[in-house]
Every structure is written in structure tokens, then in C-alpha cells.
Amino acid sequence: MRGGASVIDSIKDFVSWFFVTGDPLIYGADVAIVLTTVAIIFVLTYFRKWDWLWREWLTTVDHKRVGIMYIIASLLMLFRGGVDALLMRTQLAFPDLKFLSPEHYNEVFTTHGVEMIFFMAMPLMFGLFNIAVPLQLGARDVAFPFLNSLSFWLFFMGAMLFNMSFVIGGSANAGWLSYPPLSELTGSPGVGEDFYIWGVQISGIGSLMTGINFIVTIVKMRAPGMTWSRVPIFTWSVLSSCIAIIVAFPVLTVTLALVFLDRFLGAHFFTTDGGGNAMMYVNLIWMWGHPEVYIIVLPAFGVFSEVVAAFSRKRLFGYGSMVFAMLSISLLAYFTWLHHFFTMGSGADVNLFFAITTMIIAIPTGVKIFNWLFTMYRGRITFQTPMLWTLGFIPCFVVGGMTGVMLSAAPADFQFHNSYFLIAHFHQVLIGGAVFGYFAGLYYWWPKIFGFKLNEPIGKWAFWIWNIGFYVCFMPQYFVGLDGMTRRLSSYGWDKGWWAMNFTSTIGGFLMGLGFLFQVWQIAHSIKFMEKDTTGDPWGARTLEWSIPSPAPLYNFATIPVVTDRDDWWEEKERIAAGKAPKARPKLEPIHMPKNSPIPFIQAICWFTVGFGLVFHWLWIAIPGFIGIALTMLAHSFNYDTDYYIPVDEIKRTEAKAGRIV
């Protein structure tokens, strides 16, 4: 110790190491984060909303509220990942532009991928699961409401941990799948990769639990009479997605744990020395990663199927083949992972096997496209926003699917591999397939969630701007890819001749950003001006969730429906229209509901603490976190007072308020 000055110096050293410094963009972000935090704290305190926030939201186990929280968080992440995309597109708009440094560019593309897949697509999908599945099943909640809340908070804390990295410690920069040896200590000595590992690991555990939860919900909690052939098609898509989740996510858990052991304990799983095998990482991560693509896209297919049937006023064409197609996709998804690295020298036979399985998976997908088209055929189609996104999806996915078949031809892939052709392909299937689907689902179920429809004219503007922006952005990328531009480039020379296509692509990117702003405007405008939906069924839709008031009461169904048809609600409406008596309802009984619990939120904070401590190798932070996890688990295990009954009088009052007589 040499007195005060050196203490101050070491504090300065620490701060400049701990916080990311030196980039005006980051300083801007710092200011934005601090201002937003202050604003949130101020508003909550000024309006005395802390107690409300805690009781109604942070501790809730109601699947509908958990769903809303998923959706809000994922839309924020869509914004964050979208800003990353625009930063990249700005950098690439002109050759040799000095907007982002190559190092910063690496961080931005890594963050963009991670945000969009793990923290936007997955939670938006889980949000829709939570909103729709129990209601479609005629159930009062998911099978494990406590676990459901824990899943959400794990996702949320994982996302926050990952997001912190760009102002504290530094972001990951080894790509969204973090291949070794780049992600090993030798390639990434900073803490960015550790943020990646723990952010994704914690939220991934949440996803795995969601998979288990929804399988049990769907298998065991269907309303009486809902045989497998009467299960709504979205719920089928959720089931096939969850089957893929429970098989794929444990592989991700292990893979991340192993790369962490390499970094933390100096193990040699994937290192270049000590007998490690980096290629094994690539196999493992894609054993999770390829099914993940289908995990994300299958529920979107489910949404399209619901929407097409509802807005064509027809029964879905080919229900059985649709179910079969989805289940076979969730199975085939495991036998395609190697197509992500045909060029890595696995040998002709192995490449051939995976090329064929990849092409085979296009068949059930094609079947579905025809089913949607035949559903529309001679239907009474109305072009409201959910239907528009569905119609926009079909050509987009057909093109994306066909370029996928081009990529799956192993010899041709040697040419396309890691080029912008690939970038264009997967954005086309993931945006065109998954994001369009989730938007369709969000518009479709919005009135069920909040009790009012979103403004249609602004929504149509948003749709067209998004769609035009999409093609302007990604079509040129196919061609610039065929012209030899590879992915992850932060800059290129004028002599390459890529300028015009990149510039066009950037314009498209900003158009999509504009489309997103229109959606924000649409939501804000609708909250202010839209009229409340009193019917509970504003689209004239077909499945059980539309038979109850909007927003659904806490207990969902005053009496559990007895299902006699596929599209049970539609058939019921037809019966009533034909002058027949509606189905008899059983007498009201007290409803058994789970109690709110603070434990999921607290436990997720403990996980966050563990992750943060391990990122910086500070065991004095990580160990208390571990103890906290153990204590919260025990506390939950020892708590036998987890549920209560809603009395009949209260149900009657709630239903009467929603205009229903029971």
C-alpha cells in the first residue's frame, strides 16, 4: 500500500476495466439506460405503484399475465436486436465506412443473433403459448403455474445478464453460437463470452421447463371430450415444438456448461491443445441449434393454421395431415444438424445422409402450404391484419424454403456456405416464417389478451412497410452472396462491386425499422382510442378461447366446457344460429386456483447473481447466489399452502361484470 493516490488509481483502473468505455455509442446507451431506469422508478413511486407491481405482476402465477410479460420483454428485445441490425446495415451501406470498428461490429452481430433468437423469438413464442394454450384447451391454467412463473423470470434474468454486457465488462464477439476456439480463453480473453454462456444458460433452463410444462398441460389438462382429433391446431403445434424443446435443450445446457468448464477450470473439451475437439462443439451446438429452428417456426405454423381457418370462415383443410406434418418435422429436425457444416470434411457419405434428410423436411412443409391454400379456396376471406401477415408469409416462406433446398444440396453448399446467400435464406425463413407468424398471432389474440382490437388501418400500413422493407432488404443479399460477399464482414472495397446491393439492402432494413415504429404507434393509438370488445369473439373465430369474455377472467372458464367437436365454439355458434339450444352448462362450483408466489422472482435473482459472479470469477458473489437458489427451492418444497378456492359468489359477480349470466 502506498497511500491514497494509488487507491484512487486502482479504483480508476477497476472502473475502466469494469465499464465499457471509449465509444460514443456506448456512452449514449449508458445515458439512455440510466434515464430510463430513473424514469421507471420515478413513475412507480409517484403513482404509488410498487405494491401493485409486486402483487399483480412480479409474483403472479396466472398464465395470461406471464404471457403478457413475455410479450412485453420480447418486444423490447426486438427493438434492441433491431437497433443492432440497423447499426450493421449502416456500416455496410457504403464500402470502407468507418461507422463501427471491426471489433465493435463483431460484438454487434453476435449480440443481434443472440437477442433475436434467445431473447426475442423464444419469449414471444412462449408469450403466445401462455396466452392461447390453456384457453384453447378449456383449462384454468398450465399444469405447473409456479414453474411457469419461474421459467419466465429465468428467461428475463438471463436476458438482463446478457444485455448488461455491452455496458459492463464487454460483449461477446464470437458469433451467436460462439464457436471455439474463438470463444475459448485464447480467442476471447474478456468476460463477454461468459456473459453469453450464463445469459443463454439461465434463460435456456427456463425454456426447458416451459417445454415440460406445456407437454403436461396439453396431454393431461384438455377439457372433457377433447380427444386428440379435436385438439386445436395451434395447440398441436405447441406440443410438437415442446417435444423438440425437451430433446434439444438439454444438449444446449451441456454444451454451454462444457465451454464454461473450458474457460473457468481450464478443461480441454474444445481447446486447440490438450486433446480438445472444437469440431465436437459445432456438432453439439447444432444438435440443439437445428431443432431450435423448428421449435421457433412450428408454433408460427400453428398460428397461420388458426388464422387461415378463422378468416376464411372454413374448417382447416387437411387437419390430420397438418398434425402429421408437424410431428414429423419435430422428429426430422434431429437428423439435419450437420447441414450447417457440410464444408467441414465429414466425408461424402455423412454429407449425403444429411443432405437427403434436409431435403425430406421440405415435404411436410410443402404439405402445409397446400393445406393453407386449400383452406382459403372458396372460403369467405376477410383481409384483416392477422390474415394479411399470413398471406404475406406464404410467398416469403416458399422462396425461403426453396433457397433452403438449394443450400441443402451439399456440393452447391460448398459455394454458398457462409455467404450472404445463407444470410438471406435464414432471415427469410425466420422473419417470414416465425416473426410474421408471431405478429399474426399477436394481432389475432390481442383482443383476447387486452379486450380491444388493434387499429386496423395503421396495422395495414405497418404490414406493407414491413413487407416491402423485407424484400428490399433481403433479396439483394442473395445476389451479393452469389457475388462472393461472405458473412461477418464489417467492410469491403469499392472494387468488389457490392455497393449498390448493400445500399439497397440497408434501405430495406430501415424500412422494416419504420414498420416496427408503425406498430408501436398502432399499439399506443389503440390503447388510447380503441373501443372495448364486449363480444369476446371479435373475429368470429372457431376455438374455445373465443367462448369466454375478453380479457379472460382469472379462472378462464366459469364452468369447464365439454367438447363435442373440433372447432367446438364454431359448431356451437352454428347450432345456436340454427335455433337449437346451446349446450347445457353444469352448476357453478368453487374454483381451485394456485396462489401467487414471490419465490420464482427471488430465485431468478439468485440465478442472476450466480451468473454475474461466475462471469467475473467472483465466487464471493456466486456462492451466496447458489445458497439463495437452494434456500428458495427448500422454501417452496416446505410450503404446503399453495392454493385456494374462488367462491361461487365471486365467480357470479365477475361473470356478470363481463356481461355474462351463469
Binding site: R140, V219, K220, P250, V251, V254, G266, H268, G276, P590
Partner: protein, 204 residues
């Protein structure tokens, strides 16, 4: 898979509600076990890929000592048997018998963990650590993950014993006994694979 309409509804009111909730949780636990199977399968796969990558160091044949592992195996198999006896005591409605056999089970589990820790410490002492080479990284991770599962099981059953002595045999504690016993048997099955494919094949 049972159809929902064949059985009373899970979250429905009435006194039957609790019982079905327990069924639901058991089913959920089975699915959790599937995910745990895949987790171990992945670790086995990495071990097989790496088990000859010793980077010049000694291999399985040189460093594994079978006698200790065989004793460990017998202890764990016995604990699986005693956990079965605990379930039989539960079915017979004997709280004392149940708690007694659970205690025996976790004691045997603790012996197993003690021997494993001793084995690990001895290896580390001889200079064979997770850092030495890919083979040992795979070995310590696979076997260590199993050991962590067993340790977790010990804590879990301990908590359950406290609950049993507080609440007695209720539908809730009954389900918890069934689930922990399922978990314990599962760990036993995983160990048989570890014993066969890591140790026996390693020294042969």
C-alpha cells in the same frame, strides 16, 4: 397416454382436485427424467469422442482402479434397493419404516459420494486433473455430474424426511416419495452405464 376425459379434471374443484394435481406432477417428473437422460447421453457422447485424447498423458487403463469402483457400485445398487423398501413401507402405511429406509438410502448415497470424492482427490493428487487433457475433462465432467445428481438427491430426500416427520403420509408427501424414489433409481441406472462404459471398458 391417458385422455383427459377418462379421468377427473386436474384443476377442477372438489376434494379430488388435490389427488389429480399429484398425478400431474408425477407425469411432469417423468418428462423431466427424459430431459435428464438426454443430458447424460450428451455427456456420454462427449466422453466417447474424447476418451482417447490423452495428449500424451496416461489413459483410462493406467489410472482407473476397479476395486473401489466395484464397491461403490454395490453400495449404490443397494441404496436403490433400500429406496424400493421405503416405497413398500409407504404402501404399507408405515411412516416409521418409510423414514427408516429413506435414512438408510441417503446414508448409502453419502458413502457412495464419499468414495467418489476420495477417488477424485486421489487422482488429482497424482496429477490427473480436469485440466490435464480432454479425456480427463470428459471423465471428471461425466462422473462428476452424476455425483452432483446423487448429492442433490441426498439433500432432497433429507428435506423430504423432515416433511414426513412433520406432516406424515399425505397425498403430497406420498407423491414426493414416489418422485424421489424414481429419481434415485434413475441415477442408479445411469451409474450402471458409467460403470460399464467408463470403468469396465476403460480398463479392459
Amino acid at each position: 397416454m391417458a385422455h383427459a376425459h377418462h379421468q377427473p379434471f386436474a384443476h377442477e374443484g372438489g376434494h379430488e382436485g388435490h389427488h389429480d394435481l399429484e398425478e400431474l406432477r408425477k407425469f411432469g417428473f417423468w418428462i423431466f427424467l427424459i430431459t435428464d437422460c438426454i443430458l447424460f447421453a450428451t455427456l456420454f457422447a462427449t466422453y466417447f469422442v474424447l476418451h482417447e485424447n490423452t495428449a500424451g498423458g496416461p489413459g483410462a487403463k493406467e489410472i482407473f482402479e476397479l476395486p473401489g469402483v466395484i464397491v461403490e457400485t454395490f453400495i449404490l445398487l443397494t441404496s436403490s434397493f433400500t429406496s424400493g423398501l421405503a416405497v413398500l413401507a409407504l404402501n404399507a402405511g408405515s411412516r416409521k419404516g418409510l423414514i427408516g429406509w429413506l435414512l438408510v438410502t441417503i446414508l448409502l448415497g453419502a458413502c457412495f459420494i464419499g468414495m467418489e470424492v476420495t477417488e477424485f482427490l486421489k487422482l488429482v493428487d497424482e496429477g490427473h486433473t480436469i485440466h490435464s487433457n480432454a479425456f480427463l475433462s470428459g471423465f471428471f465432467t461425466l462422473v462428476g455430474t452424476h455425483g452432483m445428481h446423487v448429492s442433490l438427491g441426498i439433500c432432497w430426500i433429507t428435506a423430504l424426511i423432515i416433511q414426513l416427520s412433520r406432516h406424515g403420509i399425505t397425498p403430497v408427501t406420498q407423491r414426493k416419495v414416489h418422485i424421489t424414489s424414481l429419481y434415485w433409481h434413475f441415477l442408479d441406472a445411469v451409474w450402471i452405464f458409467v460403470f460399464t462404459f467408463v470403468y469396465l471398458l476403460g480398463v479392459s
